[in-house]
Amino acid sequence: MISFELSEEQTSVREAMQGFASDVLRPAAREYDEASAIPDLFFQQAWALGLTATQIPESYGGYGAERSPFTNALVLEELAYGDAALAVAAMTPCLFANALLDHGTDEQKQAHLAAFCGDSFHTGSLALSEPKPGFDPFAPSTTAEKKGSGYTLHGVKSFVPLAASAAHFVVIARSEDGLDAFIVPRDTPGLTVSETEKNLGLKALQTSELRLDGVDLPAAQRLGGAKGADVRRLINQGRVAISAVLTGLSRAVLDYCVPYSKERVAFDEPIAQKQSIAFRLAEMHMEIESSRWMTWKAASDLEAGRDATRSATMAKRYVAEKSMWISDNGVQVLGGHGFIREHPVELWYRNARTLGVLEGTATV
């Protein structure tokens, strides 16, 4: 049955996130972007929302709400409407925790999840991207060779969010079994976390490169143990997450352009009364709607446990392209002001370009 009906719980989660996005994220976005850093206070505020602990079962110390990739997509759209960098930062602990929640063995969950259910901010991270042209998350260059009963990891990972403060990483690599994932504590010999990367967008979100020079891991550190992890699902979740973030970003752009174009007068009338601007805004709205439903469709595939490779890939490629187009038009609607850092559209333009190339920085 075709339905776009959100549950009461989803609606209230969405409203709570809207409040947090407008009260906390949006007002802080510019300052943190300029500083290329996020103060601890923000992480504490975000932590209080319980984004990570909510969906962790009570037996591991969490609140025991149903694990819902769909609800998380709603959360991400709303947070990213406030600011995309802060949305990803707030959800980074989930990257690690949800990977364990979905794919880890009971021992792995026992060992790691409780730390995400405490009163103070705690994070791990996910190392998926690699610094090479046209990086394909389904074919990583990072390798995990069998050595004795364990594994040895070699490779370089990039754009690992909050790596500097992460206690552990889930590292995606290629083993003889295909796509594989490993839990790597940050003090493991052979693992180097670089200085903070300097990026075009999401500047507030501190990211690092991870070098894995012969990192030896016992078999117990393989995500999912002997069974391994469904890395494909992990990647699809990342794609849906990015689609949700970019949908929120696109909405922010349009909602900024609408009042601006009604106030800005040129040739004796508001520019919004000219078809060249009005039609552009209409098209932006059409693509935001399309983006949201593409994201929802892929998220509902994940929610139902279906293979979401097709829907998530299509959502990611579609939404990334449209959000780039929308933020590009946002800059154009504002004209010279779109280029000035006093307005947020140049930030959204940079963020859209940055997020569009990421395949799996976030897992919902």
């Binding site: 209409a282 709607e289 399309s290 509902s300 490629r317 579609y318």
Partner: protein
Amino acid sequence: MVNFELSKNDKTVLDALRSESLIARKYARQYDENEHEFPPDELPEAKDHPNFMSHMATRGAEDSGGSVMMTLIAMGSTWGDYSVRLRRRDSGLGNSALKAAGTPEQIEKWGGLTLAMAITEPGCGSDPSQVRTTATLDGDNWVINGEKIFVTTGCRADGVVVWATLDRSAGRAGIKSFLVEKGAPGFIVAHKEKKLGIRADDTAAYVFEDCRIPRSNLLGGKEEIPKGGSGGFKGVMKTFNMTRPLVAGLGLGMAEAALDFTREELSRAGIDIAYDVQGTTQSAAAAKFIELESAFEAAKLTMLRASWLADKGETNNIEASVSKAKAGGAVRDITQGCIEILGPMGISRAHLLEKWFRDVRITDIYEGTGEIQRMIIARGLLDYTRKELN
């Protein structure tokens, strides 16, 4: 709960429709090449084939809503062919107008007829407030004079809902709709139009020369012209909130047929569409195909959204326009792109792709052009009146 999966009953209906559409498709080329012929009311195969609509009799709470199903049925029908059906079932646009604006007595009287809708004139298309066809009261009759073009189902309909003005100086408020049955004196079906695509479709031009109809044929029955505002005009325009997602569906069904054909031909050529391969290793044809397929999915979802809102009884005028505008653009990109992917075989009349390319082009024009849809969307976004943005 948000759900994009069809129920078992939904699938039964749409699967049965698909097998009907496969039969209809066999006749697609014949009626495209012989534009003056009408496809029959029933194809020869109809007698051995149960009507797919019989499956619509059993619906439950877990099945998709009626409007959602109608858009999916529109898609499933044109996936076979735009004009040819195993059994003809055009319920004209006039039927939607009758349902929306007619009095209970009028709905009772004419509900069983196939009704076309005549709005467009040689001098007015996107701006129907410029209608020049007149209706004048003479005793117990309306006398109608004027010309109408692009009347869908116009030749075969039993009657037509005609837009005419009682008083041109009253602007939109002066426009009323009238029901004219075939055979009314002075009602002339002038000719069937020759077109780029949807050639087997019945598109007529009408002339009304002192055409006399009973006074009770004014749709909705309200003869007075309200002062100020648009009168009943806005109400009549609401008909489009339901028909626009349907028109999106008609276009998208053909776009889906083009995608299915292209995928099969690519596969035959050894190019399979993989969704887990990145830019550097994907073939350009496969990458292009996924781009077109994504555009299809996006447009289809906006169509489902608009019709789902209609099922809920919620306002959907912006969403209806979004779905129409999205489909209007997507179906052009998709059919143009599929030809690009397949090259010379895409333009050969040995296949149907070139026909779909021609047929879908109307999607962004009728029932309000893409530009009109953008106008409606922009007015909604900006909270502008017709006067502030035009």
